[in-house]
Symmetry: C2
Subunit: 218 residues, 2 copies
């Protein structure tokens, strides 16, 4: 497997691949963070996911054309396979193929959750659920105290808005509201600290902690 893998580096702001363009690689993020988005014909944008180290993106799909644009939020390093060789690998190693099916179905379940958030939740619930998600994904790489848990937010307020179906202003106001209520503090623009987990959880309207899983970005 090492033989057909390559390493790719992307600097902050550069595109890993672009909507409607052919892309013949499968990438696994090893360092940094990526945002995946769709653009409408006017300037509207929907960020369908944020990818972190361990997550997979690119050509694990029927078509060779990307359906989204992937942009580096930070400097990013990826392990890459040519799409064709990767798909041959799946055929050659059924266990790997089987594992990937569950990566894909996990992603479908996570997207169902996000669809529910966008279709039926208000701004407060959306941002609270988002912060809990980010906290949970970060926690896996080292447990923190529940009392005061630091959550890195590599994306901008605008990115958060475009992920949650809100405007920058509404995201900013909701952050301010959470601060006022003592749920979080924001020591810097790219960090939140959860000061009151139970209240933030309640504000999210979730019935269980978000499931963490390997993200599959297509």
């Amino acid at each position: 497997m090492r033989q057909i893998a390559s390493t790719h580096n992307f600097s902050r702001g550069s595109l890993l691949f672009e909507q409607d363009q052919p892309f013949d690689q499968v990438l696994i993020v090893t360092h940094g963070h990526v945002k995946l988005y769709k653009l409408l014909m006017d300037a509207r944008r929907q960020i369908v996911g944020f990818l972190a180290p361990g997550d997979i993106l690119g050509g694990v799909k029927r078509s060779a054309a990307a359906s989204c644009t992937a942009e580096a939020l930070t400097d990013v390093e990826c392990c890459g396979f040519r799409r064709k060789e990767f798909l041959e690998l799946l055929r050659k190693y059924p266990d790997l193929n089987y594992a990937f099916l569950f990566v894909a179905t996990d992603e479908i379940e996570a997207q169902n959750e996000h669809i529910t958030l966008l279709g039926r939740k208000n701004a407060e619930e959306r941002l609270a659920a988002f912060l809990l998600m980010m906290a949970a994904r970060d926690k896996k790489s080292g447990p923190q105290s529940t009392a005061s848990m630091r959550v890195p937010l590599p994306m901008s307020r605008g990115d958060i808005g475009d992920h949650l179906g809100l405007t920058i202003e509404t995201v900013s106001r909701t952050f301010a509201d959470f601060r006022r209520r003592g749920l979080i503090t924001t020591p810097s623009q790219h960090d939140a600290v959860v000061e009151n987990y139970p209240s933030l959880f309640q504000a999210s309207g979730l019935d269980k902690d978000p499931m963490i899983h390997i993200r599959l970005g297509l």
Copy 2:
């Protein structure tokens, strides 16, 4: 494969499986239509998909517990496999497993599209895109004239609202608006006729016709 398959019948309104309950079957719809939804703790509901004959739902996933509720919109007939036996089948026939991976990734791409609809489109665009989707899915089972294409809508206005993140009233008003503008007619509550495809397409804000694919409901 026939040996381990069974047939299941569900009458209109009955549940195929229920959110957070164990469900050990994989079902393939053979007749009728199904809605898949998530319920929040209050009465809010998000319909994450409508399934038609040929679509697959149930236990093709890591966990044996359903993450959604599936309810029969009409009388439904399904072909069923026990989850465990179905997963063994995937392991035994790598080609089948490989095919299912692409069914899953097609579903992810379709959900990305729906996420974009919910996050960034207005009521008019949502309903227009929904009607085009339903038209495209129906067209495959028999081509119609573009001039005046009948679209069966087995679900209620409330179901459409809960799928598109709108209220019943907004759905109804948007239908009325489309009728006034001559884009569609509604000969009955469960049928729309597309009278002006280009205008409806424009109203949807889509840049290409919706892709049709086998739905995977989890």
